[in-house]
Symmetry: C2
Subunit: 438 residues, 2 copies
């Protein structure tokens, strides 16, 4: 940057988030200047489509040559809010190599290429900040990178997708079906026309990878994340959870195995959470991240996980911080995956499970069921038996068992499920859900 | 620091917090080294009493010459967990002037001398971090200093004292009196033998000053904070709150007035909070900070607000961050009170109020009451009248009014209260409580 001249900011993307970032940069110039100690000048905005009318922004700022913008050599901070892998990846790498600090909200890119991006930031002594990439406005990246870095994190569990939390909340509180709740979310603009990335858990999986990498100082990619969405969650599941004093949430979960060399468990799935757990009361489209650590104990961070303005708030916090660093001729430490931990296969992950299935109502059946669980080292916490009557009664299976297990591995769970499916005294349609939080 | 040699850390204080910080520094050396990129060496611990047996720590580390320790010239990071104004103040100033970065958990000192401490850090280009000073392990200082610094904060409301939250919680959920709940808190070690600083709100007031200064970029001292404790909260207040769908919390609150040049409102008092508000469900000795801002919207941070290990977690996050900065030859931006906002007198603060008092049961009384409120520009949201019978009935005052007002200033409230106290149709013992959060 020029002595005493403004810091030059380039913005890539002017969509939901980018337009809000531009608003703040253009409308709050004086405030930002006093916070940073130097003027921030928005010198250009990279977009895909030319000649579009964009409300309130001088059209001369726009360019379709994003690469030219970020490599012109005098840019201090590049904000990437395009999304997706390419051209975002090439643009942020080129920006850092040209000496610019990078702020990005791009979870997909970070969850694929964190190691490369961090190394490039460190090699070029520039900042790489991405507070907006997980849980929108909620400060969680900086707390993990800095506030908790002297502690030992044991687990992170997050509601990191507002759409699915909205849907599950409506299924719970308004007894809607999945389809009805999804439709309502779409009508209200919470869910996209193509809701796949949300409801199949892919969006949450990208965030889970980022959280796991930060929490455990290792490289985790979205492809490492076990991922199950909410499309097959039924009204019965919600009712069963309620009967067990739980609610169903789509959680991004990361923790370590108990091995001598602990491996990373990282997964996204519908989860039964006790109603007494802080995450249980996170309603609507809100996001929340729960962290359990050795010294700090249990922490929770709650707020708006998406939307243009909230996401812009997180982006602008990073911009001001990077700009301040720049004035001091420095850049913050960029976390690296120095621990080189392995990601455990899902079979080695442990959880408690709630399993329900129909059984014949005759002496010995309960004992036979218990034997199946015992054979696979799954011990039972509670067993509830209810009798099926009239229409509910299926093919001679007169009772329904609801079993809550103690902590067990997914491999052992799979063994139980396979054997129950074969057992003559068990009806079809064995249902299960993972249970987390105590 | 020496080229490639360890970073030298001096610890001042080895009490509840200091002993936990020492434990982490001594037991987690390898982990901290990989996080920082350099060994952290604990070179000395300043204490007051000589020759005490201190579990697990080499006695040669201790010194009663804290000033000699922090000014010896080769210290990279000084951790101050002595508490109080002197000698802590002289020690941290001397440490910074000797080129050391300072980490402190000392809310009392920060709430008295923030401006001086920040200026000294900036002048000497060292870090001044104090995450542990407010709400223990909960990351709130860093989110305010960095994550939200590109946003415009509208209000911060915090449960920042675990002892008083525990007492109020017990009064609410177990119907204990203030005295019984305090006794229980003392028996469980939550409350000190002399609970004054907690129950009178002084501890919360120091934290309110720090939060207000950070949120509004200005200098706020504890002496600027309006402060009312919980000693006069009664079972009746708790019951009245419950009847209005609220709970009573001791909140540290800061927001701005609506003036052209907004002034800072900063106060601590027992507060009725709607049960639907996120702060309402913060139970036991937990702390939580609620932030409302222009772009991020509503955020909440929840966790353990005190205790040796949680506070040490916050301290150690600051230590690692300061050490990393040091390796890069830099220090983070230290917030200054550049906005030079005034603190508004409490009379100019606004809130909603719940006011209850006995009245004569005869035609015209309700109208007369309404006139009193109207004369002072206090408009009414709801009025509930209940009839007093038998024993409850006092000196001819046969009905009790419960009034919820709209937002009004404390000056106008005081006018209402004074006039009600004089009115012949109103009984003695007019009760009121401030209401915040919607
Ligand atoms: N939306 C949220 O609530 C939210 C929350 C957290 C994080 N994020 C992340 O923020 C990023 C942006 O999301 P968004 O919702 O703002 O997306 P969006 O509304 O789809 O906007 C994308 C922007 O990028 C531009 N763009 C697309 N391809 C480009 C190219 N090849 N070269 C230059 N510009 C290109 C588009 O230009 P045109 O305008 O010309 O089409 C558009 O302005 C994503 O990484 C997303 O995951 C979003
Ligand atoms: N306790 C918490 O949960 C908590 C939470 C958040 C923040 N904090 C803050 O952390 C700080 C420390 O609190 P604490 O609870 O750890 O206090 P503490 O248990 O009373 O310990 C104070 C320590 O300071 C030492 N000390 C006292 N006067 C000294 C002097 N003149 N010179 C050198 N050392 C001196 C004492 O030495 P001796 O051991 O020789 O007596 C003792 O080791 C305070 O600022 C407090 O507000 C505490």
């Amino acid at each position: 940057m020029a002595e005493n001249g403004p810091l030059k900011v380039a913005l890539l993307g002017a969509g939901v988030v980018g337009s809000q970032v531009a608003r703040v940069l253009l409308a709050e110039g004086d405030t930002l200047e006093s916070r940073v100690g130097r003027r921030l000048e928005l010198v250009g905005i990279g977009v895909r489509r030319e000649g579009i009318e964009r409300a309130g922004i001088d059209s001369s700022l726009f360019t379709t040559d994003s690469m030219g913008l970020v490599t012109r050599g005098d840019i201090d901070v590049v904000i990437e809010v395009i999304g997706g892998i390419e051209p975002a990846r090439s643009l942020v790498l080129a920006a850092m190599r040209s000496g610019a600090s990078v702020i990005t909200a791009n979870k997909a890119l970070l969850a694929q290429d964190m190691a490369k991006l961090s190394a490039t930031a460190n090699d070029n002594e520039v900042d790489l900040y991405y507070e907006a990439a997980v849980a929108g406005a909620i400060p969680i990246i900086r707390p993990l990178r800095e506030s908790l870095v002297g502690d030992e994190i044991r687990a992170v569990m997050g509601i990191v997708n507002g759409t699915t939390n909205y849907i599950l909340d409506k299924m719970t509180t308004a007894s809607l079906s999945f389809e009805e709740a999804l439709q309502q979310a779409q009508d209200l603009g919470f869910a996209e026309a193509d809701p796949t990335a949300d409801v199949e858990g892919h969006d949450a999986a990208a965030k889970a990878a980022i959280l796991a990498g930060l929490a455990f100082h290792t490289d985790v990619r979205q492809s490492d994340v076990f991922c199950e969405g909410i499309t097959s969650v039924t009204a019965d599941d919600i009712a069963a959870a309620d009967a067990m004093g739980c609610v169903v949430k789509l959680l991004a979960i990361t923790k370590l195995t108990n091995d001598d060399e602990p491996r990373v468990i990282v997964k996204v799935h519908p989860t039964m959470v006790p109603k007494t757990h802080p995450l249980a009361s996170v309603s609507g489209a809100f996001n929340a991240i729960f962290v359990d650590s050795r010294d700090a104990g249990q922490l929770m961070f709650l707020g708006a996980g998406a939307g243009g303005a909230p996401t812009a708030s997180a982006v602008m916090g990073d911009v001001v911080t990077a700009a301040r660093n720049r004035l001091r001729g420095s850049a913050a430490h960029v976390q690296t995956g120095y621990m080189k931990r392995e990601v455990a296969p899902i079979g080695d992950a442990t959880a408690r499970y709630y399993i329900s299935f129909d059984v014949e109502d005759r002496p010995g059946v309960l004992a036979a069921c218990a034997t199946v669980f015992a054979r696979h080292n799954v011990s039972l916490q509670t067993v509830q038996q209810s009798y099926l009557e009239g229409l509910e009664r299926r093919d001679g299976f007169a009772a329904r068992l609801g079993v809550m297990t103690h902590e067990a591995s997914e491999t052992d769970l799979a063994g139980v499920l396979a054997e129950l499916a074969e057992a003559s005294f068990v009806g079809t349609g064995v249902n299960y859900m993972r249970v987390e939080g105590s």
